[in-house]
């Protein structure tokens, strides 16, 4: 996606099928199956994540501080390939959730990269055993 498209896009959706997300308690768990990177967004960030992938308008008028924080958060989501522009024909999404300034944090964990791309118990090298992965 070009920079101009990124700027103009205000409604997003989950980048399925390569990205999977679920909310467990107060935490959004986001997994990029292609890269094996696992992300966490907790509390307000989790609620913002959910409203973003449900099509909330991220271009709404905001004060400068919140505007900057939201743009940075959305840029991270786009940069990691977690969301894509919402299809034009889709119905309008939800309203953007509120958040406390400073709370839009997206943690990423790449220590699972090798393991998440596999079923770590079944998909191992059959002659070498755990934790050797099958040769590709």
């Amino acid at each position: 996606m070009s920079e101009s498209e990124k700027i103009q896009t205000c409604r997003w959706e989950l980048a399925t099928p390569d990205v999977v997300s679920d909310v467990l308690d107060d935490e959004a768990v986001i997994i990029n199956l292609d890269t094996g990177v696992y992300f966490q967004a907790v509390g307000d960030a989790s609620r913002i994540w959910v409203s973003v992938i449900n099509g909330a308008d991220t271009g709404i008028a905001l004060d400068e501080g919140p505007r900057q924080e939201l743009d940075q958060f959305v840029s991270l989501l786009v940069g990691h390939g977690l969301v894509r522009p919402r299809s034009e024909g889709d119905s309008p999404g939800t309203v953007l959730s509120e958040w406390a300034v400073g709370s839009l944090i997206l943690d990423s964990h790449d220590d699972l990269q090798d393991l998440l791309a596999l079923d770590p118990v079944h998909d191992v090298e059959s002659t070498a055993g755990w934790p050797q992965q099958p040769s590709k």
């Binding site: 999977v20 768990v29 966490q40 079923d119 770590p120």
Partner: protein
Amino acid sequence: MSELVRSLTTGFAPEVGGIVVVDECLTDPPLDGGSRSIFDLVRTCEELGNAVDVQRTAAEFTSAVEDGRRWDVAILSRPETTLRCLDAARRSCGRVIYFGHDLHHRRLAAEAAYGNLPPGLVRAHLALERQCWQRCDLSLYPSSEEVEAVSAQVGSDLVAWFPYFRVDQVDPPLRRDPAAPLVFLGGAGHLPNVTALSWFVDEVLPLMRDRPPRLQVIGNWPVERRHVGGPQVEWLGPLSSEDLHACLTAAPAMIVPLRTGAGLKSKVIDALASSTPLVTTSIGLQGISADFPVGWVGDKANTWPSLLDGVRRGGDAVLGRSRNGVEYVLATHGADAFASAVSGLLEGNRYCGPDE
């Protein structure tokens, strides 16, 4: 590739209708319980008159969908594969079924307690599995405990029990040579097997120094991982089904000392079908109805020597439990019971056009 899979992947299935099974971890011939359950499912579907396509990659499946292929039922195996295929399956199949095998996050949580896995992995797998349960029309599991656990999260309409393994032949219970080796079935490629064998060798065998049993380990154990064994252990490697059957029918007992793991174990079904007495932890009997006392269960190491002594001596009680095991596998996993479960699964599912 076996004749079975070759015929399925290059068959003459119609453009609309039939069943598609997607499993990216399928080994041919089946080397693990998961692959065996898929083979049992596919051949039974075929015997019931259904055309079945087996797709070995998600990309292969989505490409067929792009080419206009449509099926009555999609059966998707393993969480990651299921989630990669779901959008395409929704467009192309009348009903989408997630073939769960076991609760990965539970199995991984148990392994994480041994310090073998990064902690975030359990949560990530729970998220993957929850998405499968929520977004498929039905999820299948081989034990009532797993069905209840999923039902508690997403409701009982979205999850059902399925027998998973099919048994075509059983052996009558017979008295066995108490001096013959015990058997342990499972390779080092399945992490719970490593934990299990280590526990047995480190915790149980030292309690039997005055009467050490011989033990045959069946499955892939690379030399550098055999340090978990001891002088009583004989490493047989992977065996043909005929040789495996011979070992099972000669052994005075199969040991299943699993400390971790989840769901129904194919090795346990094999032991029950061959009337081989079982000495196991309670984890080994997951998925077996408590209404059928089929094995000798101990979760603490100090209970195992007397269990092994008793089972090796044989006797009417041991034969009785072996008989229970045979009755159980015939009633639950026998060819007729399995075909009935598959029929029920497929009944009334027809592709009627794309999802709205």
